[in-house]
Structure formats: C-alpha cells, structure tokens
C-alpha cells in the first residue's frame, strides 16, 4: 500500500519534470562515462607497468667489431670481458637488486630481431655480427637502473647500458595526463550533475508543495515525505549510470579489444574483466550522489 503510493508519487514526479529528468540522465551519463574512462586508463597503466616490469628493464650491450661507442674500439667483446660483466652483475652489491639476468648471444639476438623487424626493408642486410650480444637484466626495483648503469657502463667491452623504462616513461606520462584530464572533466561534470539533481528535486517539490504542506499538516513522517523525491533523483541518475556503464563496456569491447587489439601492438590491453569492475563503481557513485543531493535539496521542505 505505502510502497505502491510512494512509487506512484515517484512516477508522477518523473513525468511532470520530464525535461529536467532527461537532462539529469544525460549529465550523469556523460560525467560517469568520464569517471569510467579515468578508471580504465588507470587499469591500463597498471597493466602496462606490470607487463614491462616482468620484462628486462636494463640491457647491457656488449661491443661488436663494428662499434666505436662506449668502451668499444671496433673490437668484439672478449670472453673474459663478458665474464667480467657477468661477475660484476653477480657481485653482492648488484646481485641484491637483480631479479634475473639472461644473456643472449649474436644468434639469439638476431633471431629476436628477425621476428620484430621481419617486414622492415633492409632487415635482410643485417647479419648476426652487427647485433650486440646482450645481458638483459630484470630488476627487483625498476627505479634502481642507474646503479647498474654506473657500475657496469665503464667496464671493458661494454658498448652501452640502456634503461628501457626511459622509452616507456613518456607513454606512462601521457596515459597519466589523459587519466587526470578525464578525472577533472568528470569532477566538473559531477558537480554539474549534483546541482542539476538538486534543482530538479527542488522543482519537483515546488510543484507538489500543496501535497507536501498537507502531508506535513496531517503528520506524514519525514521519511515518507522525502522518499519519493530521493527515489526520483536516484532513478534518473541510475538511468544515466546504466548508460555510462554501457558506454564503458562498449569502449572496451569495440575500441580497446576490437580496434587496438587488432593492431597487433606489443602491449597488453585491458579486457572485459576490468570493464565489469568499473560498472558497479559507476552505478554506486551515480546512486549515492543522487541520493545525497536529493535529500539535501528536499530537507528544506521538511523543516518543522
């Protein structure tokens, strides 16, 4: 009985304010889509960081007989020099920082090179001898790459020490910037959404002020009076949240997995499982925001 009455009040409120309700739906839709995009970007960053941290972060390139860089002088690194580098890497000072070291000789490096650059013109002219033999080092703490460089770069037979992360840092910076932008747009839009919900509810309460006055007069409880209005805001916001969730899921499904996935880029992308984590967050954020702003807006009409 009471439930039916409350729901019919909600229905009439939504119908009466249809244009405001549509704008609430649209604003929550857009703002929560941005929130979802920001969360997805953070997931993507985390995933990429994890991916790259599992791989070699520092490469020590040994001399070839065609290189003059570093300690090289057009002389191939000798067995003794390679052993020296390996010993240095295994010394207690560095060994504690290193998770694993793998050594690739000319043929292994060439094989990797061929798989990565098989379509590149000129790849056929490269012979294994051109490519540096490489120590690939995986660090426990990727930010300690400088320590490795300082202690290894000056050893005989080392062409150069490269911190792979420096190639990734700009990518992470760009992703972080995009994520921050999305968050700030989302915040602005959420403020707009909250104000819009409050205005809508106030308008709805104003158009029903006769009923409200009589309800207060005959002793309807505050909860009974405010519930229809809060539900009204929550329902409008939830429609927006559902649309935003659909948008987030389709972004992941069709753009990230469909388009980016088909580009065969050597990067891991987020999948549907991340999208399904975002959906409940959006629904809860939408509902909670609407409930708070609506109850704040209606409280003025409940003063006794």
């Amino acid at each position: 009985m009471r439930f039916g009455l409350i729901m019919s009040e909600v229905g009439s409120g939504l119908r009466r304010n249809i244009s405001m309700v549509v704008s609430v739906v649209l604003v929550t839709f857009i703002s929560l889509t941005f929130v979802g995009a920001a969360i997805l970007l953070q997931f993507q960053i985390g995933q990429m960081k994890g991916y790259w941290n599992d791989r070699a972060q520092v490469s020590v390139y040994m001399c070839t007989d065609s290189s003059t860089a570093g300690q090289c002088n057009l002389v191939e690194a000798t067995k003794a020099q390679k052993a020296g580098v390996e010993a240095q890497l295994k010394s207690p000072a560095l060994g504690d920082l290193i998770k694993s070291v793998t050594f690739e000789n000319h043929d292994q490096v060439y094989k990797n090179y061929k798989t990565y650059f098989k379509d590149t013109t000129g790849a056929d002219f490269i012979t294994p001898a051109f490519l540096s033999e490489t120590f690939s080092i995986n660090l426990k703490d990727p930010s300690k790459a400088d320590v490795i460089r300082e202690s290894v770069a000056s050893l005989a037979g080392v062409e150069q020490v490269v911190d792979q992360r420096k190639y990734l840092d700009p990518i992470f910076a760009a992703l972080n910037a995009a994520s921050l932008t999305a968050v700030s747009i989302a915040m602005l839009m959420l403020v707009a959404a909250v104000l819009l919900i409050a205005t809508t509810i106030r308008l709805s309460a104003f158009s029903r002020r006769r009923e409200l006055g009589i309800m207060r007069l005959v002793g309807a409880s505050n909860r009974f009076i405010q519930t229809p209005f809060i539900l009204e805001g929550v329902i409008a916001a939830l429609i927006g949240s559902v649309l935003a969730s659909l948008a987030v899921v389709s972004i992941v499904r069709f753009f990230v997995q469909g388009y980016l996935g088909s580009q065969s880029l050597d990067t891991p992308f987020i999948g549907m499982s991340e999208a399904y984590v975002v959906v409940p967050i959006l629904l809860v954020v939408g509902a909670v925001l609407a409930a708070t702003s609506a109850s704040f807006a209606i409280s003025r009409y409940l003063k006794v």
């Binding site: 009471r2 009923e211 009589i214 007069l217 005959v218 002793g219 309807a220 409880s221 505050n222 009974f224």
Partner: protein, 256 residues
Amino acid sequence: MIRFDHITKLYKGNARPALNAVTLEILRGEFVFLVGASGSGKSSFLRLVLKEENPSQGQIHVLGQNLGQLTSRKVPYFRRNLGVVFQDFRLLPQKNVFDNVAFSLQVIGKSKGFIQEAVPDVLKMVGLAGKTNRLPHELSGGEQQRVAIARAIVNKPAILLADEPTGNLDPSTSAGIMTLLERISQSGTTVIMATHDAGIVDQMQRRVIELVSGQIVRDERQGGYQTQNIPLQGFGPASVARSDLGIAGQADEVGR
C-alpha cells in the same frame, strides 16, 4: 489538554512580539473562540500549538507533551493527534472528495481497509455522502470546507484547530459549518477556532479568548464577540490600556 505558560513569540526583524507572555489552559472537550484583530496573534497561537513555530520564551504543553522537548522526528506523529482547517480549504485540486480525505490517511500509513471504512463514514458525517467522486472545483465553498473538515477529523484527532474556517463563506453556509463543528465538539474533540465572525461567536455563547497585540485581554466562559462583562482574566497593563485600545461598541454592549 493545551497549556501555555508565559509564552512569548518574537518573529525575526520585528521588535513587537506576536504573543506576549500568554498564559492559558484549554481543557478537554472545550469549544474555544479565539478573537482579535488581524495581527493580534491568533494565527501565531495556532501555529505554536501545531509546533510549526517554537516559542521564544515559555513552555507549551499539548496533549501531555512538552512541545519544547519534542524532537523534530516526533513532530509528525504528534500532529496526527491534531486536525487543522483553514480559511482557504487547502484541498488538492486534482483529487476527488474521497481521495482528498483518503490522502491524509494514506500518507500516515493507514491500511486500505481502514481507509475504505473511515472515509465514507466521515463524509457521511459532514454531509457529503453523495459527492464522493466530485472534484473540489465542482463543489461550493461550504462543501469544500466540509471536505477539509472531514480530512481534519477522519483520523479522530483530540484537538481540531480552525483558522477562520468561515472566512470565505456566506452567513447561512457558515451556520452549517458551525453546526458541524459543534457536533464534532460534542463528540469530545477540543475545538479551537480563530474567527472574525461576530455573529457566530455571539450566537454560540462559548468560551472566548480575545487577543490584542499579542496579549490576552479577555477570557470569558460564555462570551460574545465583544464583552458584556468585566474581563475575567486581565493582566495589569492590558486591562488598564483597554479603554485606549478603542474597542468599538463597547459602551453600547455594556448597556445591553
């Protein structure tokens, strides 16, 4: 039933109090007229009883409850014991007679069965049994006020407050409304009615409380709109000032 203990009510931005040290007691089943000029504090009095306002000073007890200690959460439940009727009826224009009365029961959570029984009963009592499906604009003023009264008493309140219920009605319709209010009073409900209608007050010969500038200047057991006796309850300054207040026709009345 209702006790005011040195109640003063000041509104913001107005140095003159709407009610000034008012003390009175109204007993169960009494029929009380509240008379006085506009701005004399009648409406403030009713609003204080309803706890729509809080007094600036003093304590109000209604139905055994100290209103000052009533939390705002409990106010709605307190109000279920009070019925209120206004000069402008305050009906919901899009609801018919039955629904207008039923609405006040629905919103306090009464069951459908109770509503189906109570509403026709009360409509019969106020004399609207045949008009349950009419909309308010299809009714005359007197009928609309009957709907409002039905709404106020359908929950069997202990107290009925009426703020100039006949203010918009012609004399014969008013008489009908008064008969109805009297019948409600006879069933044990305390009725407090603020009014300007001298004819009604004179005819009914009930307790009359007269307010002037927020002070009680008269409280008569069986009074008229204007007094024929020396005030029963008078405060020093108010009774002294009485002759200065220019109450018209007082001299004539005394001689009657």
